[in-house]
Amino acid sequence: MQRRDFIKQLAASGLIGMPWFEAHAAPAKKVQGRVVVIGAGYAGTTLAKYLRIWSGYGIEVVVIEQNTQFVSCPLSNLVLGGSRSINDLTFGYDLLQQHHGIQWVHDQVTHIDTTARKVTMRRGEMTYDRLVIAPGVDFNYSAWPEMQHAEAQRLVPHAWKAGPQTVNLRQQLESMPDGGVVVISIPKAPFRCPPGPYERTCQVALYLKQYKPKSKIIVLDANPDIVSKKALFLNAWKALYPGIVDYRPNSTVLHVNPVTREVETEFEHVKADVLNIIPPQRAGKPAQMAGLLNVDSNWCAVDFRSYASTIASEVHVLGDAVFSPQPKSAHIATSHAHVCANAIVAIMSGQEPDPEPVFANTCYSFVSDRMAVHVANVYRYDAEKKLMVTMDGGGLSDAPSDLEGTYAQSWARNIWSDALT
């Protein structure tokens, strides 16, 4: 049956008056073309899946990912606290590929030519009609030449991409004698997961309190204050981990000795037994290869109705690599993917993307093995500001609770199911 006949039939049945039908935006014919997606983290997996579904399985989607496994950063701080294993947070990509007919290339992107619309990998090359770059973050060690070697990053892990680095940091905590000092260094905002370093502080404190009660944590924060959920974290440190957390604001690390695990700030010299430096960050390497870092040479400016780069309109950038006032979270990364998937389907079928996208964000943080807190907001596109702006009514938890811990674990299972199957 032709679409026009359907509409006639619907008109006869009276259904055309239904609110959702009037705004019906389904493409009149099958959308075609090839979209290449670089990076299968939270943003890339979600984009690939919804692009297939919302194009009625018309658009050809090719994903290029350097790793064979997906390892979740959300919940990875719990590996340090000991209530989760990294193997609980590691998954394959097979179901996603099979369920949605996504073409998968396991390779590392090494070069991008946006004029020729060509992506080069270690083992081959590929052309595209539209390109989506969802590369996560790249760590910028340029302030500390002494940290640039792989060996230095093994001695002083960042553990800010979940995986072997997380396991390494946990092992260092296990090997540390009681009475030791753990130093956690936090870079100036913006960085991936604003509440993450403070959640990590809770998780390390939980481990120390149970197994090494004479030890302490010095938090060297380059920011003038706790960046996210301040009162909730301060209360948690005081109530749950008294005497363990020593928080020092305005403390940018200027020099690092990775071998002796000593750091220097403008004010002091600190010696650690376990040193965790979360480095400054910028958009991941594939975005750099495409020359898209046009904000402070670190982040990518995009049109928030389509996530098209403001430099190259047929290249979209998603997730942590994007410059925006929103937190760099997994939930936000998937929302970028939803807006972008809808926009690509519209553009490739000659229609306009949604002019005013709206989405929600929630970041849960675990303050112990069971109790969590959250920050939640709804964001809406503002055509004048050309930004996603925060709606009234958002906010924080009143206090940590077991109930929110249960919701946070449920959040993880649902986002994994949505992104990976």
Binding site: F21, F91, G163, P353, A360, H374, M391, E404, W416, S417
Partner: protein, 121 residues
Amino acid sequence: MRFPVYTRFWSGLLLLSATGVYAEPASFPAHTLTLAASCAVCHGTNGHSATGFLSLAGMDAPTFVAKMQAYRTGSQAATVMHQHAKGLTEAEITALAEYFSVQPPQAVIEPQAQPLDLQHE
């Protein structure tokens, strides 16, 4: 190639089309699809929660609207939903009510956790 989830989805829709409602996945405007998908991280894909609690799929539209209104006014206590409900327009809530009410039953598939390969970048 298998599409297990969506064969089930499509057969549900065939039923609907037999009764005259033609609803393909993209039958909702992009605006509603994006918004409904942003609820999925807590309520599951299309409102089918993996953990069995908080599913929204199949909830009848008036019940959905009443619950959202109760979160907005504060007459229903909540950990987080008052903060989500207040940011939406009435029209968005009506559209979401419609969206979740027509989602047919669907089994939730979860990815299997596996041991980490230490070569991971």
